[in-house]
Amino acid sequence: MNILFFTRQSKLLKPALLLTTLLLGFVLSLYGQSEFSLQASDLWRLLIAPDSGDIKQQVIVSLRLPRSLVACLIGFNLGVAGLLMQGLTRNPLASPTLFAINSGAACLMALNSIGFAFFSGLPGEVATFLGALCGGLLVFLLGGGLGSQSNPLRLILAGIAINGLLTSLTRAALIIADDKAYSMLHWLSGSLSEVDWQSWSQLWPLSLAALLLALSTTRGLNLNALGEQTATSLGINISWLRIRVCFAVLLLTAISVTLAGPIVFVGLIVPHFARALFKNNHFILLPASGVLGAALVCWTDLFSRAIVPPAETPVGIITALIGTPFFIYLVLKGKL
């Protein structure tokens, strides 16, 4: 009886810990590290006695809350996108950053915002979606990912080269368009400082749709882990699975880049931790990566405000600083 209870408890322990981490990060980011010297008591008062005249409560509701929500959802999206890519390609290094999906989206987003050619007419989300698509496609075409005997290392190296190319193009476009491009540089490093309620209302419907689509592919991804042939013989339509997964990944990444710029390496790191914590079942891994990603972005956002107040460090720089050593570790561990 005791043992049974213990096992049941430990099964709940990990998800509970994850959610607590996320929740703690969320609450802390609502009042922590603010120029307005907010206190936990302000947050408490907001909950029990909302007062629209109180400036501190207004700051929390109109600035802090959307930012924290967007941070969490973007983290969730990127974590899930990384998991989907790693699941589909069976490549532990697959992620929106390394496959140039992030930078492709950022590139077209920049072209769109400076009003370059026909891109200027498109809404932001469509442009980033197209950019993400182009980035990913280029990597697969030029990295030989479409051939039957594709080498995972080659795919990653191609991804990095295209990443560099697209980033350079983005920077060039920004500089030509505007000699005061410093704020755009900020955005290009992935920053959450510009988000508001409007971004939230832009973000959640598309994210929800993409996440539902992602959820529908979990069974296929589980079987895909056994190898493409096995999956096919078990009744999975691989091409249809690929299309759905790719669409979900592109949507998840594109919408995140539109709002916060490329926040790099979240999609690479998170699935590895999720797999270490939970069983290799995508139905569980998907929410787990999502929550881990949300917690990661939420905490790094908090951290990025804390390092040099009042200046804000773009979140993307912090995730890059965390992500690259992890990337090196993955490469050297040689699971390719």
């Binding site: 190319l165 890059a320 690259t324």
Partner: protein
């Protein structure tokens, strides 16, 4: 006159032509007569020609040479076509060191830049070396590790630039490599290093040919392989770091120039080295000239243009490379 001498001579004259063109073109186009006159006896346009464009052109040539020679030496020793100082994290390390020096002590003499950058480049190389010792990864994997270390160091630079917001053009120098605002003050600290290192690399070139046959064969033929490896890698490191100290890491030149040179003159190092130096100088100079003239008076960083050229070439190399 052999074919190779002809090739080198024509490359050299091309470089001079390009330099002249670069003196003429810009936000303020000048007639060639004025330029030549100003070069010799000064005059009204002295500032534009002698103080602004000329040092910049000279720096572009020197830096291009430095990066290219560094690339030849690295590829020769590591025998990995994907190796180059900027893909091994050396450029980023040197850039980080130089950039932090300038951000912390903005008024420090430029003479300090090369040694400090050298220290940074050396530390980055040490990390790669240690990782290589511990894990002995395959060449392609090593390239990946080098790129990751570069990315890490670049994020550090990015981070520093957020902490100390500076003018966007100077920030671009450290983010992508640019010759914006470089003048005589930046040229002088560079010179002594290059004057010693370039002839030394030419001296090494004689033994590098034997090294290409494999370490054991080279040893049997009387090459001190250990010494050669150390000397070549150290001078490659120094050349790359010193170049980066002045104008940031202008990407892909160290990768591109040796390959192009080998396409032109085959694989004998005493031909490849001068040829690569010429190609490197041409690359950086033309990138900078183009960068200044695409949308005057705005300036693009030269490093962006070399990256736009270099990244596709890197993809081509990947396509051809078989040793994963």
């Amino acid at each position: 006159m052999t074919r190779h001498t002809q090739l080198l001579l024509s490359g050299f004259s091309l470089l001079i032509l390009l330099a002249l063109l670069s003196l003429i073109m810009g936000a303020e186009p000048l007639p060639i007569k004025t330029v030549l006159q100003t070069l010799i006896e000064g005059g009204e346009e002295d500032f534009i020609v002698n103080q602004y464009r000329l040092p910049r052109i000279l720096i572009a040539i020197l830096v291009g040479m430095g990066l290219a020679i560094s690339g030849v030496l690295t590829q020769g020793i590591i025998r990995n076509p994907l190796a180059s100082p900027d893909l091994m994290g050396v450029s980023a390390g040197a850039g980080l060191a130089a950039c932090s020096l300038l951000l912390i002590w903005p008024d420090i003499s430029h003479l300090w830049l090369p040694p400090v950058a050298l220290l940074g480049g050396f530390s980055a190389a040490l990390i790669i070396y240690l990782l290589n010792r511990w894990h002995n990864p395959s060449p392609a994997r090593l390239a990946l590790v080098g790129i990751a270390i570069s990315a890490f160091l670049s994020s550090c630079i990015n981070f520093l630039l957020v902490l100390h917001p500076i003018e966007v053009n100077s920030a671009m120098i450290w983010l992508t490599g640019s010759l914006w605002g470089r003048n005589w003050d930046h040229l002088w600290p560079l010179l002594p290093w290059l004057i010693t290192l370039v002839p030394f690399s030419f001296y090494l070139a004689w033994s590098l040919d034997l090294f290409a046959l494999g370490e054991e064969t080279a040893g049997a033929l009387g090459v001190n392989t250990q010494g050669l490896q150390t000397a070549a890698l150290l001078s490659a490191l120094a050349l790359a770091s010193v170049s980066v100290a002045v104008c940031g890491s202008i990407g892909f030149v160290g990768l591109l120039a040796p390959h192009l040179a080998r396409l032109l003159v085959g694989s004998r190092h005493k031909l490849v080295l001068p040829c690569a130096a010429l190609v490197g100088a041409l690359l950086v100079l033309s990138a900078d000239t183009l960068a200044r003239n695409l949308a005057p008076p705005l300036e693009l960083p030269a490093g962006l243009l070399t990256a736009i050229l270099g990244a596709p070439y890197f993809l081509f190399l990947l396509h051809r490379y078989k040793g994963y």
